[in-house]
């Protein structure tokens, strides 16, 4: 096993004469301040991977959930298949996809999307199942068609469960995307492995990962609050 050493030259600055913090491989706030810019492109790519995968996962899971809502017996098979996809280790899945879709962003997105399906699917199904019968009956009594009832009553009432699923999927995807470098999809993981012995590099890339997850989680929460004014509890 030979760790990638080539990029160390570019990432470490050895111009100073005295043994610097960097040369001693410590945790170097100065180095981080000077080089934080290098992490912005990988961070952006990480964000792209996450957002595209979660959106794609949501669209597919949403379609599957509506299908399962109409044909109940499909729920079992869909949960089973997405469950198997969920079990496959991400590093392995990235590698397995390489012969099919090649190196790059698309391979990363396909693998990451496959992990979102199960969580989002079962939360949409559960959300729709938990809509009170009284609300459904009232909608039917008001003369709504099945389609109107689904889109105007059931789905809006299921939003909290659906959003919970999307939040879990998002934070999970941020963590998994750190391995997308195996598929050549870049992201913060790519930045981590450019120098796997330099502590400052590992710490800053990891912290950015965690901050990204927290920021996305809060953003989704904020959107939910804005979208569901009737759920705001007066203090």
């Amino acid at each position: 096993m030979s760790p990638p050493t080539l990029a160390q030259v570019t990432i470490r600055d050895r111009t100073s004469d005295e043994p610097s913090c960097v040369a001693q491989n410590g945790f170097c706030p100065d180095w981080i301040r000077d080089h934080i810019g290098d992490y912005m492109a990988p961070l952006l790519r990480h964000l792209e991977l996450t957002v595209v995968s979660v959106l794609a996962g949501f669209v597919i899971a949403f379609a599957l959930a509506l299908l399962a809502h109409r044909r109940r017996w499909l729920t079992g098979p869909i949960t089973g298949i997405t469950g198997v996809m969920y079990t496959i280790p991400s590093l392995a899945l990235f590698a397995i996809l390489l012969p099919i879709t090649g190196f790059g962003f698309v391979t990363g997105v396909i693998a990451l999307t496959s992990y979102n399906l199960l969580v989002i699917f079962r939360n949409i199904v559960a959300g729709l199942d938990n809509v009170p019968d009284a609300a459904k009956d009232a909608a039917t009594g008001m003369g709504m068609t099945d389609r109107q009832r689904l889109w105007q009553v059931e789905l809006p009432l299921a939003i909290p469960e659906i959003v919970a699923g999307v939040r879990v999927a998002t934070t999970t995807t941020v963590g998994l995307a750190a391995l997308a470098f195996i598929a050549g999809a870049g992201g913060l993981g790519q930045q981590i492995i450019t120098d796997i012995v330099f502590k400052s590099n590992i710490v800053i890339a990891s912290v950015l990962c965690i901050l990204l997850a927290a920021a996305l989680d809060l953003a989704i929460l904020a959107v939910q609050r804005a979208a569901l004014p009737w759920r705001r509890v007066p203090v």
């Binding site: 397995i96 390489l98 934070t171 993981g189 796997i196 502590k199 965690i210």
Partner: protein
């Protein structure tokens, strides 16, 4: 026509990957034999790492979950540990430990133990908390001590969830052990990460092996989970949907892909 050619070449790569697993061949740069029976040491090291990490994680997480669950303290810990744990990238944890503590098997095991603890802890905690108060009161009324209540009432009733956590963690750890080479430990991740040595066939073949390992572990531990469920709690036959179908909640049982 073109799609047929593409399909043939994709299938070719996969069957070459399988061939790698069953027959030794020379490495890409030459000189070293890879694949076939040389995979056994990698598999052995992989399972050793998984076994050790799981052992330590169970020894820490189960008693802690039982204690906090029994005493009712730790709602915050149970929810925040699983939430934070989800977004910490496994590779970051592995590299963090190996860069601060050095490259060694025990550091890798340490990092993976930390990854394995949250699901087991959260599930044990939730498992104990969900035991109905009436049952605990009845046991206390019969004169059982606190420790006896934990051992004879709360643990058996929580056991299915505890094993659910162990199942999640085993699959996680099998997946994460592929990062071993970054910590200087040659696990099954080596052919996946270092395709320049093992070749494309090595990468694809080993990836299929790791995927199969995770799925087999999932099935095995699901069976084990059913086996440890007290007969009175065992539903006649649980469908796949019931086993996998609980919706994800933010503050509940941890279950993360890796």
């Amino acid at each position: 026509m073109t799609s047929a050619i593409v399909l043939a070449s994709v299938l070719g790569e996969f069957s070459d990957g399988l061939d790698f697993l069953f027959h030794e061949r020379e490495s890409v740069a030459g000189g070293v034999q890879v694949g076939g029976s040389t995979m056994w040491p990698l598999l052995g090291k992989h399972l050793e790492v998984v076994g050790l990490a799981m052992l330590f994680a169970i020894l820490v997480a189960v008693p802690l979950g039982l204690y906090l669950g029994h005493s009712g303290r730790g709602d915050f810990a149970a929810s925040s540990i699983s939430n934070v744990g989800r977004s910490v990238p496994a590779i970051a944890l592995v590299l963090f430990f190996s860069s601060y503590l050095g490259l060694s098997l025990i550091n890798l095991v340490f990092a993976m133990t930390l990854l394995a603890i949250p699901p087991i802890f959260t599930n044990t905690y939730v498992g104990v908390r969900q035991v109905e108060d009436d049952i605990v009161d009845a046991a206390r009324g019969m004169g059982l001590s606190g420790l006896q209540i934990v051992r004879k009432v709360q643990l058996p009733l929580a056991l299915p969830l505890v094993f659910g956590g162990v199942r999640t963690s085993v699959v996680n750890v099998i997946a994460t052990a592929t990062l071993g080479p970054f910590a200087g430990v040659l696990t099954l991740g080596d052919p996946i990460i270092n395709a320049s040595v093992y070749g494309e066939a090595g990468r694809v073949g080993t990836a299929m092996l790791v995927a199969a390992l995770a799925i087999v572990a999932e099935i095995l531990f699901a069976a084990l989970q059913r086996a440890v469920t007290p007969a009175a709690l065992r539903p006649p036959r649980r469908s796949l949907r019931e086993r996998l179908g609980a919706p994800a909640r933010l503050h509940q049982v941890a279950d993360t892909p890796t």
